[in-house]
């Protein structure tokens, strides 16, 4: 059990650090979340999907 916990923690730590590094590089090279929201997320209409999901649980 302890071994699995350790492996999970190490894997998630590696993923987290590499994700942060990639995001850092992307930000330095001109990446922007606000632009992504305007282009990708608005097209997908993610907020409407989230509202829909919440609607299932609220009664």
């Amino acid at each position: 059990m302890k071994k699995i916990w350790k492996v999970t923690l190490i894997v998630s730590l590696i993923l987290f650090v590499s994700g942060c590094a990639i995001m850092g590089v992307a930000t330095l090279t001109g990446g922007s979340f606000s632009r992504l929201y305007d282009t990708v997320f608005s097209e997908l209409d993610i907020m409407a999907r989230i509202d829909e999901l919440i609607g299932y649980f609220s009664w």
């Binding site: 699995i4 916990w5 999970t8 923690l9 894997v11 998630s12 730590l13 590696i14 993923l15 987290f16 590499s18 994700g19 942060c20 590094a21 990639i22 995001m23 850092g24 590089v25 992307a26 930000t27 090279t29 001109g30 990446g31 922007s32 979340f33 632009r35 992504l36 282009t39 990708v40 997908l44």
Partner: protein, 237 residues
């Protein structure tokens, strides 16, 4: 030799055979006439057993006088080997406390495997107090069930959040491939996907751990408290 064999019964069979064959060789070499002399020189079987045991544990080297004598030397050399250093009387007297200590050590080791239960006092008997048990069960159930439910609800909520984060991370990562335009925006999504996935992994596993440990802790705590409260120790005569 039989007594020595008994003392060495705690040793590895291979080591025991090696040691016994060495001492048998010494006795064979000395012959029947000088058997008593050899016994007096070596000391009691307990002392010899301790020496052998220490030697095989690597604590001390083998005593010089227990090494087999080369065959070419004949009876003279064995006789001189027996007569050198101290006389038998001096040897026995100088090692008497050591022999006692050695015998005690061997006996202690032999008795470790079969502890004598008759030495200690009889174990106290535990008697159930039914009235206290009934009085304990009611608050234990009233407090225990909501606690278990709370722990379960918390674990399930955390697990759901973890699974949602895992799914979300994968979704965001895949979304990175669909971005048309700047590569940096795709990278941003890849990075965010990895971070969300990592958080989801930790959350999901933490929920599993919390569920197991909290349930075990609550139920185990209630039972151990009950055992302490509802049983009375009575010393039997």
């Amino acid at each position: 030799m039989i007594e020595l064999k008994n003392y060495l019964s705690i040793m590895e069979p291979k080591d025991r055979e090696t040691a016994l064959s060495r001492y048998e060789a010494i006795f064979d070499e000395a012959g029947e006439e000088k058997e008593d002399e050899v016994i007096a020189r070596l000391g009691s079987p307990a002392k010899v057993a301790i020496a052998i045991k220490r030697e095989f544990e690597g604590r001390v080297p083998a005593p010089a006088d227990t090494q087999p004598v080369p065959e070419g030397t004949g009876d003279e050399s064995s006789g001189s080997a027996l007569e050198d250093e101290n006389s038998p009387e001096e040897d026995v007297s100088s090692t008497a406390p050591e022999v006692d200590e050695a015998e005690k050590e061997v006996q202690a080791e032999n008795t470790q495997e079969s502890p004598d239960t008759s030495l200690g006092q009889p174990a106290p008997e535990k008697r159930l107090r039914p009235l206290l048990l009934v009085l304990y069960i009611i608050p234990a159930v009233i407090i225990g069930i909501p606690l278990v439910a709370l722990a379960l609800a918390l674990s399930v909520a955390l697990f759901a959040a973890g699974v949602a984060a895992l799914g979300g991370g994968v979704q965001v990562f895949i979304l990175g491939f669909s971005v048309v335009g700047l590569i940096s925006d795709s990278l941003l999504l890849f990075g965010a996907g990895l971070v969300i996935f990592a958080v989801g992994l930790v959350l999901a596993w933490f929920a599993i751990w919390l569920c197991g440990s909290s349930l075990r802790g609550i139920v185990g705590g209630i039972f151990s408290l009950g055992r302490r409260a509802c049983y009375k120790e009575v010393r039997s005569a």
